[in-house]
Symmetry: C2
Subunit: 121 residues, 2 copies
């Protein structure tokens, strides 16, 4: 069995923005922590929902026709296929739940795209 991990301690491993780190799994879903600052990129995940849980700070989730402002403790699931762009004016810590197959920038390849191997390191 994988030993317990402390969520706050897990963020010590995160040194770069927009570079998720895998910290656990449940039924083929991965738990990842990430520090965000600035905007990522407009993208969608065609076959997979993506859950954002704001651990610290604030995040504005832009959608094509509206935006949702998220604060600490807020949980939002982006349904599969929905275009979105996360924007953090200040540093924001998030816990993500998504399948192992999810690419965090969708099919957009940018200099922020990280392979699953990089996310496991």
């Amino acid at each position: 069995m994988i030993p317990p991990i402390n969520l706050i301690d897990a963020f010590d491993r995160v040194t770069d923005y927009w570079s998720p780190k895998v910290i656990g799994e449940v039924n083929d879903q991965l738990l990842k922590v990430a520090k965000l600052k600035g905007a990522l990129v407009w993208h969608a995940h065609d076959g997979e929902d993506e859950l954002f849980h704001i651990v610290k700070g604030k995040l504005r989730m832009e959608f094509e026709d509206h935006a949702v402002d998220l604060k600490e403790g807020d949980i939002l699931t982006i349904p599969k296929g929905v275009m979105h762009n996360p924007v953090a004016e200040e540093e924001c810590w998030v816990l993500l739940v998504e399948p192992a197959s999810t690419k965090h920038t969708g099919d957009e390849i940018t200099d922020r795209t990280r392979s699953l191997e990089e996310q496991m390191s």
Copy 2:
């Protein structure tokens, strides 16, 4: 799209111990909040992992050959098929991630067993 839910506010809906409430979903996994106090019952979930995230308080997870003490912020996945018994000496708040099909007392039916319909209410 389901609007965001605040994790701490979600616990306001929980009035009984050992009575999980569904607060969200991602890729056929349900997010549930529960308040725990005392011991539940020895059980396993044959086909499904179950993730515990300690939001407030402490939880002792008993296994057949050892126990793990969890504190606030700790995350532990119970692998499918592993017998376990959560014990909270004092009130403990947990966030759970498990498939819609998971029965929270496994195949043990007790007066604490809650149907999915009850968990959605």
